[in-house]
Every structure is written in C-alpha cells, then in structure tokens.
C-alpha cells in the first residue's frame, strides 16, 4: 500500500509540475460569475496566480472574497466562467474532486472535527492523499506513513502537547492552527486560507503568520486577510476585490500606489490604520 501511496503522491506532484510548465499558472480564474437569485455577487472575476506565489485577497466586507473561495474550492458551482487548477478545469466539480487534484482550503469559521483528538483530526486529513481511501482491511495503527505524517504536522502547528485532546476542547488559537494543519495535511500544492487570523489578538496574529509562512513553503497560497500589516508582510502579490471583480492584482507596492485601489478601498483602510497608530 505504501508504494501505491507514494505513487499517488508522485502522480499529484508530476501532474502539477507538468501543468505548471505548460500553462504557467497554478490557479486561474477566467470571467468567473456567480449569482444568488437575481443578485450577482461575483461579476466577471479574472485572476492568474503562478505556482509558488503568495497572494493576499483584500477588499471591503461583502465584496465577494469568501464567495470567490467557495467557487474555487467547489462549495458552490459558478454561474459562468472558468476555474483552472494547474491548467485543468475544475469549475463545477465537487469539493472532494477538487481536493484530490491538489487544492485545499481552510474556513473563516473554524471547521474541524470536534469530537476527534488533534492527532485524529490530522490523520483524517492525510489518509486520502496517501492512497488509503476507504480502506477497510488495515488498521490505522499499522499505517506508519500516515501516522508519521500526522505527527509531523502536529509538530509543525505546535500542538504536540495536545495530541490526545479533543479538538472541541482546544483554545480558539489552537483550533485555528489545527484548521491550518488539516488544510495542509493532504499535501495539496494550492492552499486557500479564508481569514486565518480572524478573531486573534495582535501578538497571536504575528506568531500565526510566521506559522503560515513556515507550513506553506513552496506552495501556492491564497489568503483572505483584513489586517493590512499581515497583508503587506506576507504576500508577494495582492488581489483587490471590489463588488465581485478583481480591480487590481499586483505587487504590494504597486497596489498601494494604484489610484483605483486608493479610491475604492485601500485609502480609507490605510487612513484608518494611520489614525489608529497616531491615536496610540
């Protein structure tokens, strides 16, 4: 089984690499649209993210950032338009199909397995990618590769001491870390993090950003984030979403200088932050 597992891993890796070379983009959105009833929430979004880039998606509340993630990850099917993962179309596919193609996501509201221990949460996250699927005739305890990988992840997210604690009994910050752990567990090379630091204190946030940077080395990362300090510290590129469209997608410096962005969103946010800083 372990050879099958490693083949699956290699397959996923090679598949992504060939596509990266062929198309050049790890994730691409082409004129993506989504309506709920008569209301169009995503109105022709375009985005092309290269493999290994860290992209922060910013925008005012209700701009459609989370909806965009839901469309990419398969939670909702788009009304029209295309989503390409490593050159393969994934729009309209089910979440588990998209996940198997190498895209994984976290959620804004913590979404873990509350009655399973930290270790079990992570082990569940690795099983499919190691090729164990719906295995019935092997014991979990004997799956060395899965167990080692889960231990490794637990180490990475610094929850070794909480190994056997039920996820529901963790602190909020620990649950957020576990959420990230589950997200990266399957070895996906495109990671979507939806407001990973929401609800955290300043000091927790900065530690958490270090953690995210650490665990996503070499991966393509898209993250929705409100904290501008975090955005400018973490991201190689910033995508600004306003009213369901990507109005700018560039390096942090270029985005900061972009008058369109200033007008639509960033000006007010930066002014607020500066005012807050002066106030302190």
């Amino acid at each position: 089984m372990s050879s099958a597992a490693s083949t699956a891993e290699t397959d996923r890796f090679e598949q992504s690499m060939t596509h990266v070379h062929a198309g050049g983009y790890a994730l691409e959105l082409r004129d993506l649209r989504k309506s709920f009833g008569k209301t169009e929430i995503i109105r022709g979004a375009n985005l092309a993210v290269r493999a290994g880039e860290r992209v922060a998606i910013i925008g005012p509340n209700g701009a459609g950032k989370s909806t965009l993630f839901n469309l990419i990850s398969g939670r909702f099917a788009p009304t029209s338009g295309e989503v390409l993962l490593n050159g393969t179309r994934i729009d309209g596919k089910k979440p588990f199909e998209i996940n198997r193609l190498g895209l994984s996501r976290s959620f804004q509201i913590t979404n873990i397995f509350p009655k399973l221990s930290v270790f079990e949460n992570l082990r569940c996250g690795v099983l499919w990618s190691l090729g164990y699927r719906y295995t019935l005739f092997r014991f979990l305890a004997d799956l060395d590769d899965a167990n080692n990988r889960a231990e490794e992840l637990m180490h990475m997210i610094r929850l070794e001491k909480k190994r056997d604690t039920l996820a529901m009994n963790l602190t909020y910050a620990e649950q957020r870390a576990l959420e990230i752990g589950i997200t990266i567990a399957g070895g996906a090379n495109v990671i979507l993090l939806d407001e990973p630091t929401a609800g955290m204190s300043k000091s927790e946030t900065s530690r958490f950003i270090d953690l995210i940077r650490e665990v996503t080395v070499g991966k393509t990362l898209l993250t929705v984030e409100h904290d501008m300090g975090v955005v400018f510290g973490l991201a190689d590129k910033i995508a600004v979403v306003v009213y369901g469209e990507v109005i700018a997608f560039d390096t942090p410096e270029a985005v900061r200088a972009n008058p369109k962005v200033q007008e639509a969103y960033l000006g007010s946010v930066l002014a607020d932050e500066q005012a807050a800083a002066v106030g302190h």
Binding site: F107, I112, L127, Y134, L140, N148, I182
Partner: protein, 430 residues
C-alpha cells in the same frame, strides 16, 4: 521518512485482558445462571448485542439516525429461516452453524439495495428515508405471504442436517454457545472496524461532513459503505434469532423493533463502543423480566428513555466513563454518599409514582377483577382516596428530598470537575 516518536502497541496488555474477560464471561455465564429462563435470556442478549452494535455503526459512529434498522435484522431472519428449511429438506447442503451468515449476506444485500437511496442524504432526510423504507418493507411483508408467511410467519426446525461432533442444536445450551461464538467474533470485528481508515473517516463524517468533502472524501460513499457493514452484522443478528426462535413473523421488520434498537442503543450509550453492549443486555432484561413484572413496562421504559435523553445523553456508558474519570483522579469516594442519597430518594419516588401507575393501569385494564391491586406485597385499593393520597405523598416527599440531594451532588460534581480540569492543565504544562 524516519520513524518519529510515535509508538503504538495494538495488542497491549489491557486489551488482551478485556477481550479475554469478555470471552470468559460468554463462556461461564450459562454455568452461573443455569435456569432455562437464564439461558434463554443470555441467548437473546447475544443476539441483541450484535444488533445494537451494528445499529451504533450508524448512530454513534456515523451520526445516522435510522428508524428502520429492523429491516436488515428482520430480512436477515427471513432469509435464514428459509435457508434453515432448505437445509431441513435437503436442498441446501450447509451446516446449521453457518446459517447466520446467510442472514448476514441477506442483510448486506438489502443494505446495498436500500442503502443506495437512503445514504444519498444525511441528517433529517436520512432519518425520513429510513422510516419510509421500514414502512415499505413492513407493507410488503403483509402482501407477499409466500415469503413472509403472513400472520403465522415462517417456522423452521434447527435440528437439521447431519450433527457435527454430536452437536444438533437441539438443546438450548448448544444454541447459546453458537450465539456466544458469533457474538464474540462480531463484537471483535465491529471493534476492529472502528480502528480502520474507513471507520475513522466515518467518525469524521459524523462530526463534520462538510469538512470531510474538503479532505478528499465523498461523504455519500462513506455513509453507504458504513450502511452496508451495519446491514451485514444486523443480518447476522437476525439469522441467529431465526435459529434461536425457529419462527420468524412480520413483527421482526416492524417499526417497534426498529424503535427498540434505537432506544436501547441510546440507553446503553452511543458515544462509546461498549455502550450498545449494555444496551443489548438491557433490551433483553426489559423485554423479558420487566414485562413479566408489570403491564406498564413500556411506560417505565419510555420514562427512563426520556430522563436519559434529557440528563445523560451519552447513555449509561458515558455515566460509567465520567465516574471512571473521577475515580482515576481519586475523587470518587467524596461523592458516594451523594450517590447513595440520590439512589434512595429515586427509589422513594419510584415507589410512589409506581403505585399510581399500577393503580391507573388496574383501573383501565383490570377493573373487572375488583378494586384491589397487589403492589410490592401490599394491597392497594385503586378506588380509595387514601391509596392515592399515600402514593402522592410518597412521590412528593421523594421528589423534595431528591432535589435536595441532587443540588448537593451537582455542587460536589462541579467542584470535582473544576479540580480535575486544573489538574489536567497542570500536567500539560509540566
């Protein structure tokens, strides 16, 4: 990948001891309880344990509330009794001891058939569909009397085929040991299931089906596979019942039977693997002993279920585990007086309320037999104000003191839990 500090001993000593004890209990139980009623009950307990555990694969492990589990135990029973008759008339050359497997295969087959539709949905729609399936099968059982035997059911004779080493399955004790072996193997297999990747992902589907979709799993397939496994073991249980009773009637696929599995699995405790074993034992105790004791047994059962759902939703197993936790921190002896007080006052309430229930049942059902009710050695006049006054007085007094005892107990319990939490935190930071 190098092996990190993770070490796991799948066959550790504790597990050997528990499984050996379980085998020992199965082995010596009929030597300790030798009356024919005891052997009958022990036999039925084995059957009920397998049925409740198979039901818990759905309820406790998969979060699937099924209202139609009797479909799979029942159809297993029917296929088994037909197989038994085929063995009897020589058209099927298999030993009687393998007939339960015929039931298992039947259970599996119908789970594959019906489960395909049922497991397309989770949550409330799942529960509704199982209810519909159960009604459907019950209605069919009345229509196709060639297979279901109509009102009389289908009967068979388990003394069939060639005896193996003198085992004919004529004497009940031989049937007991057959069922004990099946019980041990099925319990072990169902426990093993909880230790497999599929078993664990099933827990994940129970906890958070949405998240499971984002780690690569199709939750519908997970539910479907679990449903099949539950159906297989349910069918084995049904097959054993067919051998034991030598008759199968339409009630075995009925809603009451399905409700029974739900009720007793819940009472035993769906959150722990061993909970349904307790549930299976209780199921037989209630339906054989309690039903002998009083006509109002279903009412008492309903009340117990009600209180359990409200105050101990984890069932008896969770009560045991919570107290074991307290004991492991050496704090159990602080609350045993409270337990004694709770127990005694609960008995007082039961005494008073029981008297009222028995009098009502007597007035409604046995009024022709006079006004006197025999209750725990006393004679109560069901129409006399004094009996009612006495019963109400005892109940209210019991309730009053019980409430006092309960408050004291809650206070102690909360204090102990706080201390334990602190202790756990302290150990973690060390």
């Amino acid at each position: 990948m190098s092996k990190t500090h993770y070490e796991f001993k799948p066959w550790n000593v504790g597990r050997w001891i528990i499984w050996s004890l379980f085998a020992l209990v199965l082995l010596v139980a009929p030597k300790l309880f030798t009356s024919s009623l005891s052997v009958t009950m022990l036999t039925q307990m084995g059957i009920a344990i397998i049925a409740c555990l198979s039901y818990n694969i759905l309820l406790g492990q998969g979060g699937m509330l099924s209202f139609g589990h009797a479909v799979y135990t029942g159809l297993g029973s029917y296929m088994a009794i037909h197989a038994l008759n085929a063995v009897s008339n020589g058209s099927m050359p298999i030993p009687v001891s393998l007939i339960p497997l015929v039931g298992g295969v039947a259970g599996l087959f119908f789970a594959i058939l019906f489960g395909y539709v049922t497991t397309k949905k989770a949550g409330t729609p799942f529960a509704m569909i199982t209810l519909g399936m159960a009604e459907l099968v019950f209605a069919m059982s009345l229509m196709f009397s060639e297979f279901f035997g109509g009102e009389a059911g289908v009967s068979g004779n388990r003394v069939a085929g060639d005896p193996f080493m003198g085992i004919t399955f004529g004497p009940p004790i031989q049937v007991y040991y057959l069922i004990a072996i099946y019980t041990f193997v099925c319990v072990a297999l169902m426990y093993a299931f909880t230790r497999t990747p599929l078993g664990r992902i099933l827990n994940a589907v129970r906890d958070n089906p949405e998240r499971v979709e984002f780690i690569g799993y199709n939750t519908q397939i997970v539910r479907y596979l679990a449903f099949m496994i539950a159906g297989f073991f349910a069918g084995i249980s049904g097959g054993l019942a067919a051998i034991n009773f030598e008759i199968v009637t339409a009630e075995v696929v009925g809603a009451a039977r399905s409700g029974g599995y739900l009720l007793f699995t819940f009472l035993g405790g769906a959150t722990f693997f061993f909970g349904p074993i307790i549930g299976g034992v209780l199921m037989v105790l209630a339906s054989v002993l309690l039903s002998e004791l009083t006509k109002a047994w279903l009412l008492y059962l309903g009340l117990i279920f009600l209180f359990m759902v409200m105050y101990a939703p984890g069932g008896i197993a969770s009560l045991i585990m919570m107290n074991l936790r307290v004991a492991s921190f050496g704090r159990l002896r602080e609350i045993w007086v409270s337990y004694l007080a709770l127990g005694v006052t609960a008995l007082v309430i039961l005494l008073g309320a029981g008297a009222m229930v028995e009098m009502i049942y007597h007035l409604k059902l046995d009024a022709a037999m006079g006004d006197t009710v025999r209750y725990l050695g006393m004679e109560l006049n069901a129409k006399a104000a004094s009996s009612w006054f006495g019963a109400v007085f005892v109940t209210l007094t019991g309730l009053g003191i019980f409430e006092l005892a309960r408050r004291e107990y809650s206070r102690q319990w909360a204090a102990i839990q706080t201390d334990i939490e602190k202790e756990i935190k302290r150990r973690e930071t060390q």
